[in-house]
Each structure stands twice: as C-alpha cells, then as structure tokens.
C-alpha cells in the first residue's frame, strides 16, 4: 500500500524471506537417502578418473558406497576446495591459501586467503573463488554477520603462471560453474547466482530461500546447486540490528550466535526460536532453523527444476558439495557428517 513507508515508522516493517515454493518445495529426500559413508564434516566432493573423493578436515578420503572412507591424501591445513582438471589432475586449496596442483604446491596470490571454490573450464582455465578479503574461511559466519562483501573471483588461463582478478566486491562467492568462457558464481550472502564474464555481472537466479554453496555441472546440461542453510527471519533481523549484533559478535561464542550454521540443535546453548520448540514430542519440519540441507537441479538457463531437502527436523544439513555421476547423485552433508548416495532414476520415477 502507498502508506506503508509511513505506517512502518509506527508498526515496524516486516522482515520477509522468499518461500520454499515451486521448484524449492520441501521434501525429505535427503533424509530418506542412504548414507553411503560416514564422514565428519563431509565436504568437497570431487570425481577423479578412478573414483570419488571427499574432504574432511586436513584429509581427502576415497568414497565408495558401503565402505569406510579410506584416507587418500593429507595436507598441512584443512581442505578448502577441490577441482579436477579436464586431464584428470587434482587441484586442492587449503585454508591457509596454498594451492596444490598435482604434486606442486604454490601460493597463488597475496590477495587470496579464503579460497571457497575451485573449478576448471573445459579449456583448462582454472577459476578460483576467494570468499572474503577480511576473514579466513573458518570465520565465514563472522564475515556474514559483519556484512562482508570483499569476496573476489580469479582465473588462470591454461599455461599462464598467475591468477588475474575477474570480479571483486562480492558477498562471499561460494560456488563456481565455468560456462561459455565466463563463470556462474554463487554469491552466498546475497542469495543469488551471478554470471560473470565480459562486461558487468548479470544476475541469473536471485531470491534463493537459502545460502548457496557449491555449484557442480550436471552431465545432461545444467547444474546442481547446494544450499547449506535456510534464510531465517530472525537472522535477517539480527543483521539489521547493529548494537545487538556487534555485542553478540564480541561476547557470545561463535557456535551460539544467531547466524546460519552447518548444523543446529546440538547444544542447549544454541539460540531457539519459538517455532522450533519441541511440542508433544514433535519438532516441526517447517520451523525456523539455522541450518538446512538442500540440493537444487538447475537447467541450462540456471533456473531451478527440482530440489532435494533435509528440513528443520532432519539431520542431513549443511550440504555444501554434490557430484552427479552415472545416474547417481553424491551429496556431502557437512552438518550430518556423511556422504549420501541417491539414485536419480528413483527421483525421476517419484516425480512421475
């Protein structure tokens, strides 16, 4: 209504978030799925020519359905991002900013200290997302709660020796999908996908109902997008509350902040919202939550087709990485501490 801005002075303007609707309509597919392997802080799935790997802590593990993950490669610091080149070479970035390609270790650029994603284009160009210039990767929630927008996207053409910055001023780029000479970037704190190439960045998908993480190509064209936490009115409200938020950052331990998280409900010191109260033994799946698990199938135009969810009462939260391979979708749930293995043919049957 035309009077709303005036009335808002008296009644306070409502904090609104996009709904889980349409292609984002909730289901329990992630919670129903079989856990292929337990893996604490599972993240960074990658498909090597001879099998699947996933990162946990400082180590990459080989993942096979039904088997304990076997250590594959260890690094001096937690693994931050992985990518496999068209020739099958593994690139791994660690939290210290070091880049391991094959057996070489290098320090790509002084301005890169928070690698969140790596991706190879078909021509061998290596794309790199630097989440924040102000905070290391482990302090990502600090970056969000301080309205960080110092992220950047870099690329190195095949044969080139150094990275060049393609875009900056991004609010935590978390996922990369090289496409037609450019790249699609998941800009997490702004809940959208950006197409970065020649010219100004273009918004391809906006108003996501959660915080996007990695993008990965789908064999049949299009892509998979992960969302690791839902948008939450209370968090969005706290982001606008200057004094409370700064006091919280200064005095409350980070796991207990009113902030998105990979998992929630583990400790009684975590914040609780009214809707999340367990009543008569039931935790409502639609209740507000700080963490969520969601993988979205996007078409070639980066528009959502369908999605897989782990809702507020589920456990497969903090989905940051998925890989599709031979009709199977592998999902790494960081909050759930496992790698899931989902038969896409089942999904298609269900959809019919």
């Amino acid at each position: 209504m035309i009077l709303d801005p005036v009335l808002d002075l008296f009644r306070g303007n409502a904090v609104t978030i996009p709904p889980f609707d349409g292609a984002f309509r909730p289901n329990t597919r992630l919670d129903d799925a079989r856990a292929a392997a337990p893996l604490a802080e599972a993240d960074n799935l990658a498909r090597l020519p001879d099998g699947l790997v996933a990162g946990s802590g400082n180590t990459l593990y080989r993942i096979e359905a039904g088997k304990e993950p076997a250590p594959f490669k260890s690094f001096g610091a937690p693994v931050a991002a992985v990518a496999v080149s068209p020739s099958g070479e593994l690139a791994v970035a660690t939290e210290t900013g070091a880049l391991h390609i094959g057996d070489r270790e290098e320090k790509p650029h002084a301005g890169i200290g928070c690698v969140t994603a790596l991706a190879y284009a078909a021509d061998g160009t290596l794309w790199l997302a630097n989440g924040s210039a102000d905070h290391p990767r482990s302090q990502w929630s600090q970056d969000l709660m301080r309205h960080g927008s110092s992220g950047s996207v870099w690329k190195r053409a095949p044969g080139a020796t150094s990275f060049e910055r393609v875009a900056d001023g991004l609010a935590f780029p978390y996922g990369l999908l090289p496409l037609d000479g450019g790249v699609v970037v998941a800009e997490s704190w702004r809940h959208r996908l950006l197409r970065i190439g020649a010219g100004a960045p273009v918004e391809r998908l906006a108003k996501l109902p959660g915080y996007p993480a990695r993008l990965s190509p789908a064999p049949g064209g299009g892509a998979w997008l992960c969302l690791f936490a839902p948008r939450n009115r209370l968090i969005e409200f706290v982001l606008q509350e200057e004094h409370y938020r700064l006091d919280m950052l200064a005095t409350v331990p980070p796991p207990y902040w009113i902030a998105p998280s990979f998992s929630s409900g583990r400790s009684f010191l975590e914040p609780l919202q009214c809707g999340g109260i367990r009543t008569m033994g039931v935790h409502k799946p639609w209740s507000p939550s700080r963490s969520y698990g969601m993988a979205v199938r996007l078409d070639e135009g980066m528009q959502p087709l369908f999605s897989l969810h782990s809702r507020a009462n589920g456990t497969r939260h903090g989905v940051c990485s998925v890989v599709e391979e031979a009709g199977r979708l592998w999902v790494a749930s960081r909050g759930g501490g496992c790698v899931l293995d989902i038969d896409l043919a089942d999904l298609a049957r269900e959809a019919r």
Partner: protein, 707 residues
C-alpha cells in the same frame, strides 16, 4: 556499563510503555477518537464564534440537537443491526406534516397529532423493515426508494396544504410548551432524546432483544445459526428507526408550528454522518448510542457553526462529506488493524542483566552438569497424554496429572498402564497438591485455584485477589496460577506467574521479562485470598520446607529460588537462596532425603541473555517478525536439579538426547521413583532414583500416617 546500556535500562524499565497496550485492550478506547473529535470541534467553534456557549444560544441549538439525536438514535440502532436507513429525512418530514395536518387542518387534539406522527413513522418503518428484513432486499436501495417516495409525497402535500396551515388558528398550550417550554432548564426535546438514549442504551446492552440486534449486526450467519430470528430483528430495527424519526418530526412540528419544504431535507446524510463519525461501524455490530449522540453533537455543532461563520450550504455539505469519508476510513482501518496494533504494542520488554551462571555443559565439573540419565526413564501414557505440567501420587500410589485439555487424568498403580479421566476442570490444570483430607488442590491456568474431592467434586477455591491501586488491566483476576503447596495449618500458598499474559501465552512473558509474578495465600477458614509478594519475574514452583516453617518458590525468568518465611523472626519476608542458575526453574517438590527436587523448564542461552540487555531489539523483534520466528529461551532442554535445605546444589539430571524429556516442568518422588512431567511433553517419565528411601511418599511426608 556503557552509556547506551544505561540509557536503555532507564528508558525501558522506568517508562511504563506496557500501559499503552493495556489501555488498548479496553473496549472504551473505541470511543477515544470520536471523543477527541468532539472536543476539538467544540474547541474550534467555541473560540471562533463569540457567544457560542451563551445559555440562550445553547438553548436554541439544544432543541435542534434533541430532535436530531432522536433521529440519530434510530439510525444507530439500524446500523448496529447491520442495516442502513436513508429514509429518516423523509419520515421526519412526513411525520411533521402529519402532526401539522391533524392539528391545524383537522383541528384535532395535540395527542391525536402525536399519534398520527408516530403512525406515519410506524408505517414507513414497517415497510422498510418488511422489505429488508423479510424479503431480504438490499437495505441501501430499499431505503433509498422509501426516501424518494416519501420525499415526493411530502413535497406534494406541503405544496397542497401550506396555505391552509397558514390560515389555521388552532392553538394549544401543550403544543407551545413542547415547542418552546423548558423542564428543569432543559428543552422538552432534549429530555425526550435523553430518555430515548438511556432506554435504548440499556436495551442494547442489557436486554435480550438488544443483544440480538448486536449479534445480527455482527454476523447474520452466526446469529441465524445461534437461533436468533434475523428477519424480525432487522424488521424491528427499522420500525424503531421510523418511530424515532417520527417523534423528531412531531417535535419540530411543535417548535415551528408548521411544515416547510425544507423540513427534514438532507437529514439522512447528517444522521448517517453523525452515526459514523461517532464511531458506529457501517458493517454493523459495533457501536453504541453514546457514540451516536457524540457524533450528533459533532455534526450539529459543525454545521451550525459553519453557517454562523457565514459559509453557505455547499461548504457545510462538503465538510460533512469529508468528515464522513475520514470517519469511514478510520473505522475500517481501525477495525481491520486493531488486533495487529495491539499485538505489536502489547509486548513491552524491559531491561535485565542476568548474573553470570555456572556452566551446565556435560563435563564442566559444576554441580549443574547435565547428563543423559533421564532419557532412561520409562514412559507412562506416551501418546495419550498432552501436557502433564505437574504430576502427583496419592496414598494408594495412583498417579495424577493435568492435561492441556483441562482434565485431571489418573493412572492406576502399580504399572500405570490403565488410566481414566479423574475430573474435568477446564482451563489448563498446572500445579497439584493433596491436602490433609485427600482433596486434590490444583492451580488451573487461566481459571484459578480449584479443589477436587476424592469423590471428584470440583470446587472453585479462589479466582481473584485484591486489585492493586495502579493497575490498568484488572489484576485482581488470576491469569496464570501456576503451582501451589499447603502449609500444616491448611493454608494454600500459590503463585500467579504473570499479570500480563494468559496461561497459554506463558512463553511470551519470558520475552517481555516484566516482573509481575505474585505469591498468594488462600485461607480455607474464611475463603479469602491475599497477595503476599508481588513483582517477581514469573513466580513458578512452590514447595513447603520439610519443617513447615518456610516455603521455597521459584522465579523462573530470573533463574532464582527464594525462601519465604511463614514463622520465626523473618516471618513474612523472602530471601534469595539460589541465584544465577544456568536453567529456568519450574516446580519444586520434596525429596526423601530431606532435600528438594527442582525442575528446569529450559536453559539459558548466551544469545537470549544478551537480548535481555537489548530491550529495544526485543521490542522491534516482536513488531517485525511473526511469533514463530521470535528468539526464545531454549526450552527444548531441561532437567531436574536437587538441592538441600541451605540451597546447595547436589545433583542435576537431564535428557540431552531431547527425545524423552526435552523440557521438564515437574517431578515427584514416590517410593524410590521420580515421576517426571513436562508442559509441552506427551508422556510422564518414571525414573528409578539410586539410593532413595523406598518407603517415602509425599502424602506421608506432608500429613503423616501410614503408607
């Protein structure tokens, strides 16, 4: 403490902003806007026109006001019944002509003239009522038709008989007296209007037909479903309106001793504006005669004032139109948004800096350390029970608990598999206690203190205490009676947790954190209830000490336990015995080893504790977010704490898995077992206490005797 924090503490704790919400809950606030408009109108015209308040001027305008008020009273009743009456001006004019015709031309008595007037109103009202009420025609169009028809008839008659009336020499002292005389200083028309207004007001608010009118106006469908005869109710509102207009017409006939072409012209617009401006809702069901009269005064003062200030009829009509538009807008917006405004304004948080608490985390090494022991409790009534806030056992080992359906359920010993509804009380039975004679005393949320005899007879003991002098909302009523315990002399000590919220909104009180909790005592000897202590942040569990000389009570949102002395040198005073706990205490009960069990309904979280120091943030949160998104204390984890006579913490039990007993609001020890209840839970837990006295029972501990 920073300056900002000190300012916040002052701003939110000293300025009573909660009163705005409390005042808005009053029905009379609906009258505030019209009343304000009345005062403003009187002030403006009173100062702009010299001599406005002189007795002579008032006398003249009061005669007009009397006639007009009568018409407005009629229109108000029609509108309250959900209709509208546009024909009042026409009826007014015709009634005036009838009186004039009977008196001046037929030269009959003045009483016959009155009868003719009233008959005219009756006929037209009945036509309107029949068409609208029984034939269900649209009120607006129907009365518009009557208006046009009546007006046309009036014009024809007046033109035809005007000269004859002029020539008539009929006279009557009664007519002169009604038209020009006064009674006790006031014009007859004013007296009539007052009598009509009072009678109508009483009829509307205190009588069955009046309630029917309001019910039909509020919702025809519901009224019909409730068995009210909608058609005849509507019919009679129009008949009443017709009679009112006719009486007005008779009065003007007496005052002017004739009928002119302008009599009653545009009266329907004025009357409608008056009713709406006064705050009578166009949608029906809301409003009152007083509002109508207020509107009548506003409109009359405004039109007369404008005319005396030299403005023409056009301007007057224009101002009336604008007033009507403004009033309709305010009426609709207010009606639509009142509850929203109230919701947003009502929660008025205060500032509180909680004390630093010891950790309750596992392996923290403190006495508050929570563990997973309660998850091993066997469950009773799983899936059958909803909300056993408190649990208690009798001398025969049967188990009793309240449910959110307002029932007291009894589970039979020894295995507690079978259950029955012991008594239906209503409300939400919370705290339970057995008295010396085996009566079950219960604090029933939203109702009061009740007693249930072994023969299942439910008796109300108390539902009110003395009202405090400064209260806006009546705080004599018990809103959230929470827990009770009984002293050796039979007096029942109980808590009323908050004056601000009803029992089912108890969690909202934690967001507001305003200290309004009370400790009360009910004396069975004379049936009186007294307030002992006031101003605590959600008083909750009560437990008589083992020696019966003092009692413990929990102050939930402040995470404290107090001891109130019944006798000894400190009798009548309270002292804090446990403070700064990491959890929110609920019920307290005796333990077999001379100590006490205390339930924790939830745990403090650093983010919520911090929000208590940011009342402005909490206020904005309640205004900007839907309730499901509000930040709450963590009531998904609770526990059971044991402490001794001195308040020292001995042990803490918990269910960190959150599956069986996420929150605990009560526990009762009985023969070596602890029975655990939770207000949001769907079961009672039965937990074996290691090393407890297997013969100890609560009834024996209180009242002695075997078992």
């Amino acid at each position: 403490m920073s300056f900002r924090e000190r300012w916040q503490a002052w701003r939110y704790n000293r300025i009573p902003s909660h009163l705005i919400g409390e005042i808005l809950t009053k029905r009379w606030t609906d009258n505030a806007i019209p009343f304000l408009a009345l005062v403003v109108t009187l002030a403006i015209f009173g100062s702009a026109i010299s001599g406005f308040f002189k007795p002579a001027a008032l006398q003249a305008s009061s005669r007009q006001l009397g006639e007009f008020s009568l018409v407005v009273t009629g229109v108000t009743v029609v509108m309250l019944g959900g209709g509208i009456d546009l024909s009042v001006g026409a009826i007014f004019g015709l009634a005036c002509f009838s009186a004039v015709f009977v008196f001046f031309i037929m030269e009959q008595s003045i009483w016959l003239a009155l009868a003719a007037s009233l008959a005219t109103g009756l006929v037209f009202g009945a036509v309107n009522g029949y068409l609208v009420g029984y034939l269900k025609l649209r009120a607006f169009l129907t009365t518009l038709v009557t208006l046009i028809f009546g007006r046309a008839l009036f014009d024809i008659l007046v033109t035809a008989y005007a000269a004859q009336v002029q020539l008539s020499d009929a006279e009557s002292p009664i007519l002169d007296y009604i038209g020009d005389g006064t009674f006790l200083g006031l014009a007859i028309s004013v007296w009539l209007a007052v009598v009509f207004a009072v009678v109508t007001h009483i009829a509307l608010t205190r009588s069955r037909p009046g309630w029917h009118v309001l019910a039909v106006g509020g919702s025809r469908r519901s009224a019909h479903n409730a068995g009210i005869r909608v058609g005849s109710t509507v019919f009679f509102t129009y008949v009443f309106s017709g009679l009112c207009s006719a009486l007005g017409g008779f009065l003007i006939a007496c005052r002017l001793s004739g009928a002119g072409p302008g009599t009653g012209q545009n009266l329907e617009i004025m009357a409608l504006t008056a009713a709406v401006v006064g705050g009578v809702s166009l949608g029906g069901g809301r409003g009152s005669v007083v509002k109508g009269i207020m509107g009548a005064i506003i409109v009359l003062v405004m039109t007369n004032g404008l005319i005396r200030l030299g403005y023409g009829t056009g301007t007057t009509q224009m101002v009336l139109g604008l007033m009507l538009a403004a009033a309709v807008t305010i009426d609709i917006r207010w009606l639509k948004n009142r509850h929203k405004v109230l919701n947003e304004v009502y929660v008025a948080p205060v500032y509180l800096k909680m004390g630093e608490a010891q950790s309750a985390e596992p392996d923290s090494g403190t006495p508050y350390e929570l563990d997973n022991r309660l998850s091993a409790a066997e469950h009773i009534g799983l899936g059958e029970l909803e909300g056993p806030e408190d649990v208690i056992l009798d001398r025969d080992d049967h188990l009793y608990c309240g449910t959110r359906h307002g029932e007291i359920v009894r589970f039979f010993a020894p295995d507690y598999k079978r259950s029955e509804v012991f008594a239906h009380v209503g409300g939400f039975p919370l705290g339970l206690a057995f008295d010396r004679d085996g009566n079950l005393i219960s604090c029933v949320g939203a109702m009061g203190l009740y007693s249930i005899s072994p023969e299942r007879k439910v008796t109300k003991l108390s539902a009110e205490t003395a009202r405090s002098l400064t209260s806006v909302v009546d705080d004599a009523r018990l809103r959230d009676p929470n827990d009770c315990d009984i002293a050796p002399d039979g007096r029942i000590y109980f808590t009323d947790s908050t004056k601000r919220y009803d029992a089912h909104d108890w969690t909202l009180d934690s967001i507001e954190n305003r200290p309004t909790g009370r400790l009360l005592v009910y004396d069975p000897k004379d049936g009186s209830t007294r307030t002992l202590l006031d101003g605590y942040r959600y008083t909750n569990g009560v437990c008589m000490a083992h020696d019966g000389k003092s009692l413990f009570f929990a102050e939930s949102w402040a995470c404290r336990v107090h001891r109130y002395w019944l006798e000894g040198p400190k009798a009548g005073t309270a002292e804090c015995v446990i403070k700064d706990m990491p959890g929110y205490p609920d019920n307290i009960n005796r333990a077999s080893d001379g100590g006490y069990w205390m339930a924790w309904l939830g745990m403090r979280t650093p983010s919520f504790d911090l929000s208590l120091r940011h009342p402005g943030m909490r206020k904005r949160m309640t205004r900007r977010l839907p309730q499901d998104d509000w930040l709450f204390p963590n009531i998904n984890t609770g526990g059971v704490v044991k402490f001794d006579e001195s308040g020292r913490i001995l042990d803490t039990l918990g269910d960190l898995s959150g599956e069986a007993h996420p929150m605990v609001t009560s526990m009762r020890e009985h023969k070596g077992y602890l029975f655990v209840g939770g207000i949001l839970n769907n079961r009672i837990g039965r937990f074996r206490i290691a090393g407890a006295d297997e013969n100890w029972t609560s009834p024996a501990s209180y009242w002695g005797g075997a078992k």
